[in-house]
């Protein structure tokens, strides 16, 4: 075999090879990336809406004056009162099951609609509930067994009869991720008056609670 000599032409070719190779590798390096260090992916979201009516709801109210009474059976309104020693708390929750949302989903927005049937100028605050309850068993004396968030999510003033829409996005979003929406405790946080909202047993369907959720999954 003939020995390969380094002629000027071959030297030039060698330099050219090195230059071109360096250019390509430098281009890759300039991206600040290398194939050994990168993993990139994307996740596309599906958007949808879910409207829950009273058929997917449960509600009740408890009275300090009747501490062992479960009042959620047939009453057409849920009372909320702030009088010392005679407070009323209302509870409302919805079953998100029909929305078919995975726990990796979330709420883009959520609106709770209630109808004020007895007005007051007191503030009604909504506290998220984090444990199971049933309208058939919940009593004032049973509240100690219930886990309720320490901070109100939102509030409204039932100053006139009729529909009120309350934004509850953060609570519904958290409930989707937790797998269950245990709803809210409605508490008078500003006065001593008593007001009321329509319950799931209200004769007028339009006065019953409902929940509209815009979601992603």
């Amino acid at each position: 075999m003939r020995r390969l000599r380094l002629t000027p032409l071959r030297l030039a070719a060698l330099i050219l090879v090195a230059a071109f190779a360096s250019t390509g590798v430098a281009y890759a390096a300039s991206l600040g990336l290398s194939t050994a260090k990168l993993h990139a992916w994307s996740q596309t979201l599906a958007k949808g809406t879910c409207s829950l009516t009273s058929t997917a709801a449960d509600d009740t109210y408890v009275q300090q004056a009747n501490p062992n009474s479960a009042l959620g059976g047939t009453d057409t309104s849920l009372t909320v009162g702030g009088a010392a020693g005679a407070q009323d708390y209302a509870f409302i929750r919805f079953d998100l099951g029909s929305c078919n949302l995975p726990t990796t989903g979330g709420a883009d927005s959520a609106l709770l609609s209630l109808t004020v049937t007895s007005k007051s100028n007191d503030t009604i605050s909504l506290y998220p509930v984090y444990a199971g309850w049933s309208s058939s068993t919940l009593t004032w004396n049973g509240l100690g067994l219930l886990t309720v968030g320490p901070t109100a999510t939102t509030s409204f003033v039932p100053s006139s009869p009729g529909l009120v829409n309350i934004t509850v996005t953060a609570d519904v979003d958290a409930a989707i991720k937790a797998g269950t929406l245990w709803g809210w405790e409605l508490r008078d946080t500003s006065g001593t008056a008593t007001s009321a909202v329509g319950s799931v047993e209200n004769n007028a369907a339009g006065k019953r609670p409902s929940l509209a959720v815009n979601y992603e999954k």
């Binding site: 003939r2 991206l31 194939t35 993993h39 990139a40 709420a107």
Partner: protein, 128 residues
């Protein structure tokens, strides 16, 4: 024989040149930012990990959570871009994956004010 050597040299030039360019192109990227879709997979994970987000009561994104990040990814930079339906960026943030046992749920904050309703996709990357 001389001609053969020259031809081999030319082929070598083209091969090396292609290798360098291919290295850049195979990343599916440009210097302007990440392209859509997946890139070459190597490193601590090859999975497309599930991502969720939290919102405040106004519906704005407060945190993005990347679930089940392998322990081997500790120390890597996890970056997330929120995209609208045109794949335009609505906000980006990143964090360093911490050490944890098993799969980590890594939370990322600092996207600014972005309405969750406008977010249609997450673009995520892990780099060292």
């Amino acid at each position: 024989m001389q001609r053969l050597v020259n031809i081999v040299g030319l082929v070598l030039v083209l091969a090396l040149l292609s290798t360098g360019i291919a290295a850049a192109a195979s990343l599916g990227m440009s210097s302007g930012g990440l392209s859509a879709g997946s890139a070459v997979v190597a490193g601590c994970t090859s999975s497309s990990l599930t991502t969720t987000r939290n919102v405040d009561n106004s519906g704005n994104v407060t945190q993005v959570n990347v679930l089940s990040v392998p322990q081997a990814c500790a120390g890597e930079t996890l970056a997330v871009t929120l995209e609208n339906n045109l794949n335009a960026s609505l906000g980006s943030a990143s964090t360093t994956v911490g050490a944890c046992t098993g799969g980590c749920a890594v939370g990322i904050t600092g996207f600014g004010t972005v309405s969750a309703a406008t977010v249609n996709a997450y673009a995520i990357s892990l780099t060292q």
